[in-house]
Symmetry: C2
Subunit: 342 residues, 2 copies
């Protein structure tokens, strides 16, 4: 079975279902693959004896693993396509299979284009990517070597499945090699990952997008500066804030309850009021009712505060930004919030 533009290991899915004699399976697909859901279900139901129930709740990443709520539906296996496992969250109640969706897009063209730009930044390069393009890193390493560029692929912490993989909330695979490289080469689309890398590691980043054939360096630097100005402005504007809402994500990979407790204690020691607010998906409407709160601090997905900040009526800051606000950290030490392995 073929999904246009992607390589997905359906053989492994079928083998797992047959071997485990699974009969009632929940299928999770990322938003971009949901249009293929009936084709995928038809195929899996034809090849196995299992009933496939599509889980239609939003599935932005491995954090969104369906689990507790399916227990009553007698689901015996969960298959999530398009994301990789978060190893340190793997004690799932229902057996869970992650199957990556590898993009078939060619990287050679944009890679060639990037060589002179890479050479401006240095001769030792760290390679990072997201799950969609991570399988190209070996090829890229070889190509760089043929162009007299040495490269490293780092190993992330226990929230990272694949060598060289970064998440929007975890750059540990880059951090592990940061000291020995001059710059990072990011392969993939979107700005959030390379921007997070820039804000976290503080080494030059070259982002190559095999879809648009764009090589971004300066644009990322400008975006970084724009975000830093925004974040600085937010923090300064909050110096008189008195009432804080501490957001706790109930999604599997985002339950930082200890961090939330620490924040509550720190705020208490500064004579600030705080309220703990838990939710699955912090959409803007969810937070609209809390008009007397001056500021939210998100311990849920780190992207909420940075990526979606214009959607919310009240400022949302990260735990690190709170530390800067209350003087526990300096602005010079600004970093992006990461969810790292416990």
């Amino acid at each position: 079975m073929e999904i246009q533009g992607y390589s997905i290991d359906f053989e492994k899915i079928i083998k797992t279902i047959k071997k485990g004699k699974y009969k009632k399976i929940a299928l999770q697909l990322p938003e971009g693959l949901k249009i293929y859901s009936s084709r995928i279900i038809d195929f899996l139901e034809k090849k196995t004896d299992a009933l496939i129930i599509l889980s239609a709740d939003p599935c932005f990443g491995a954090c969104d693993i369906a689990n507790y709520e399916l227990k009553n539906l007698d689901i015996d296996l969960i298959i999530q396509i398009g994301h990789t496992s978060i190893p340190d969250s793997e004690n799932y109640w229902i057996p869970t299979l992650f199957i990556n969706a590898e993009s078939k897009i060619e990287v050679l063209k944009v890679l060639k284009k990037s060589i002179p730009i890479i050479k401006e930044k240095g001769l030792i390069i760290g390679l990072v990517s997201t799950s969609q393009h991570i399988h190209t890193l070996g090829y890229i390493q070889k190509f760089l070597s043929e162009n007299n560029l040495k490269s490293f692929i780092g190993k992330g912490d226990n929230r990272i499945s694949l060598k060289g993989q970064i998440l929007g909330c975890n750059f540990s695979a880059a951090e592990s090699i940061a000291e020995k490289v001059d710059a990072f080469l990011y392969i993939g689309s979107g700005n959030f990952h390379p921007l997070g890398l820039l804000l976290t590691i503080k080494k030059p980043v070259i982002a190559i997008d095999p879809y648009s054939n764009n090589v971004k360096v300066k644009e990322l630097e400008e975006l970084k500066n724009q975000i830093l100005r925004q974040r600085h402005g937010v923090i300064v504007s909050l110096k008189d804030a008195e009432k804080f809402g501490i957001l706790i994500g109930t999604k599997r990979g985002q339950q930082r309850i200890d961090l939330a407790n620490n924040i509550k204690n720190v705020l208490k020691s500064k004579n600030k009021k705080s309220y703990m607010i838990a939710a699955n998906n912090f959409m803007s409407e969810i937070l609209e009712g809390y008009r007397d709160i001056d500021c939210f601090i998100s311990t849920a997905c780190p992207r909420i505060a940075i990526d979606d900040y214009l959607q919310y009526k009240k400022p949302i800051i990260t735990p690190i930004e709170l530390e800067i606000l209350i003087g526990k950290k300096k602005w010079a030490d600004y970093k992006l919030d990461e969810i790292t392995s416990i």
Copy 2:
């Protein structure tokens, strides 16, 4: 502590927390009370030693009880204000306390206005209401009696907590007395409940709204006819539908998986393809990705198909409407979908 317009038994909440020595409590509030959340949390944290975590996910009814997802947050008690328990779903993983929010609005004025209209419909009246106004039924019964009107208050099935209470998905308290009454008197605001009553019980309904002082009879009949025309049109339009999506709600009180299985089997016997789709909250965006599905059948909240039908791009029908579509039931037997006690 006072919440404007409502009587809420905070004493019972405090007593329960102290008696159970609960330390970490999740608080759920209906949308209309969320603006009071910080006041309620301040009060409960002052009166007890517990930490209160607000659950900010939408809470439309007792179906939305937070539960599984809070287990990892070490929550030892869940308090849901504004709804009553669904007795047959009470095997919660975490101890759960439902506290009703009784409206303080006076019913006498609109009740007086309704007496001549009630008398046009009959002399024996069934009384029904929602949890907000249910405490007025005794008073109303006495007033009707003084006006030479006999009235009954029915007992619902095991999904209903209070005598005379109806839910948007359960009219069993009315059904239990339907044979011996000439008409029903509904106390409350909104059209969905009295309309559901009209569509389910087929006796005259007089709806009195103590907020607007409106007495509705004819308007409800017209709305009923409008909905019946709509529903008939939807069913007729689906006679060539080939691909069905069977919606399964993962909310506690809506997991009708057996019904979903039955529907799948019935469709199979008619050579129709079907796909099972599970989600917590079937917002319109959630179903937009499934373009090749001709029609959805909702086994989740019965209101989805009727109340929200304009929001969805594809038709959604109820299990009863499917039976009419495939000829298992006649249009004359049209009823609203109910979730009844198992």
